[in-house]
Symmetry: C2
Subunit: 287 residues, 2 copies
């Protein structure tokens, strides 16, 4: 029996998309600028190609332009950096997304760092990481940024709450910790080396599971009334499932994200939102 | 009665200084390059002037060159950035330290970001913050970097331990969290908004107090045998004291830093160490 309130990520993502479409339209009206996202795909990974296609479709749906750059599997770091530099100089491009992962011969960090901070709408540069941790204006990693928007949409009071983040990846666990810290949560970051994870999760007012293991977080680890955010998306026997064992967790949680339909839809929504904001800022317009 | 073993920061700092002097000498012998730190002081704050003077004296003692740039209280952001850019281009300067704080009219972040990553031996740029959090080669914030060196010098096993960092400042609490996380600690960051701080500190295998309040951390918050690192340095009735109530804490801790003579000496030692490493890297020499 589910007693927790479900966090409807599809609905919140729709709201973010609508605001984005409105901002894009206003910017066109105001200064004739069409917000534009450049997507860069290196190699032939089918999942990556699918993700990039979804990003481009969403741009089209919301009135943004998009530029698609497809590079060979054998691309070198230098070639990729050159291409990103070119997009960085292109005044018609407002945001740059380099699809992760890139082929092994490429220094992905060097490629990310070639993205100018003002076009880093995917929040992957050290600069963006810094602004996320220091609470300064900038662009957020899209999934953690989306999680903050979910918490806000459901009026979760973050200040002073104990947030336990399970996972410490560069695009999820670590930036999530920074964003929660800057919203005045007490933040614990757990990972594969953590001893007695259940005991730590039991203390959490807010749990963010970003560990990439299906149904890993057990229901009896969840404190009564806690907010449970599941950023996992793992292949399961009947479709994808999250990192949290949903049914038992939802009997204890106050609020919980389903998988799918929770965190998932937010990532793309934040990407296009940040692209529209970047376009407005680069046009020098307050919208 | 003190039962904890005292961590002798003076001794560890001496070791780091000796290694630094040896590296500096080797670099001179190998390629005729003298490692050089540029210190930039803006305005008339007497404490800042004293800190900069101490840094320059240590450079001299260990065989490093130093360049001292003194700018007026009325310096603009643009003037300061220009000066830092000039030092960034100067091949004879290997490390740049901008003394914090700068006068109010200056955008300190913009000034920090003007320091090239390869000369950021004080670890203040977003780039350095990123490398600290991602565990990539780079330069560390000197005080947190010094604390890691203290833990290593006393063979503290960080992996899997629960570290509680009290404080979330840009140069101490936040980078400390990143460095501990990359050494596989489970990390909790607490701060002024944290509810039930004693309960969290009681769980810590490693406590880092960086809160700036004299004798704030109480002895009975310390778990038996914990490692207690006190980064505080507050004016007290009989000289400066730390953030930890030393006597009662030392009855429970396994290892503890005194104040003074614990963390304090490490900050300068790491600054010159990182300058010597930067000089070697910029000269393309493995030393």
């Amino acid at each position: 029996m589910t007693t927790a309130t479900l966090i409807d990520g599809k609905r919140v993502a729709q709201d973010v998309q609508q605001q984005t479409a409105a901002r894009v339209e206003k910017l066109k009206q105001a200064v004739g600028v069409t917000a534009c996202l450049a997507t860069v795909l290196v190699g032939e990974d089918p999942a990556s190609a699918k993700y990039v296609a979804a990003k481009r479709r969403l741009c089209e749906k919301l009135g943004l332009a998009s530029v698609f750059v497809k590079l060979d599997e054998t691309t070198t770091t230098e070639q990729l950096v050159d291409k990103i530099n070119e997009l960085g100089r292109d005044a018609n491009v407002h945001g740059i997304l380099l699809q992760h992962p890139v082929p092994k011969q490429i220094d992905e960090r060097a490629a990310f760092e070639a993205i100018p901070a003002q076009k880093d709408v995917d929040g992957v540069t050290f600069h963006s990481f810094g602004t996320m941790f220091y609470g300064l204006p900038g662009y957020e990693s899209c999934t953690p940024g989306g999680i903050i928007r979910l918490l806000d949409a459901y009026d979760v009071d973050i200040r002073g709450k104990h947030a336990v983040v399970i996972g410490r990846s560069a695009i999820l666990g670590k930036p999530m910790a920074g964003l929660l810290l800057n919203r005045d949560a007490t933040v614990t970051v757990c990972h594969s080396r953590t001893v007695d994870l259940p005991e730590l999760v039991k203390q959490a007012d807010i749990v963010v599971a970003a560990v990439g293991k299906p149904a890993f977080v057990q229901g009896d680890w969840i404190k009564d009334g806690a907010v449970v955010i599941d950023a996992g998306f793992n292949p399961g026997p009947k479709g994808n499932i999250g990192d949290v064992d949903f049914e038992p967790a939802s009997e204890r949680a106050g609020l919980i994200t389903p998988v799918p339909g929770g965190v998932g839809p937010m990532t793309l929504a934040v990407l296009v939102e940040q692209t529209s904001i970047a376009a407005a800022r680069q046009a020098g317009v307050e919208i």
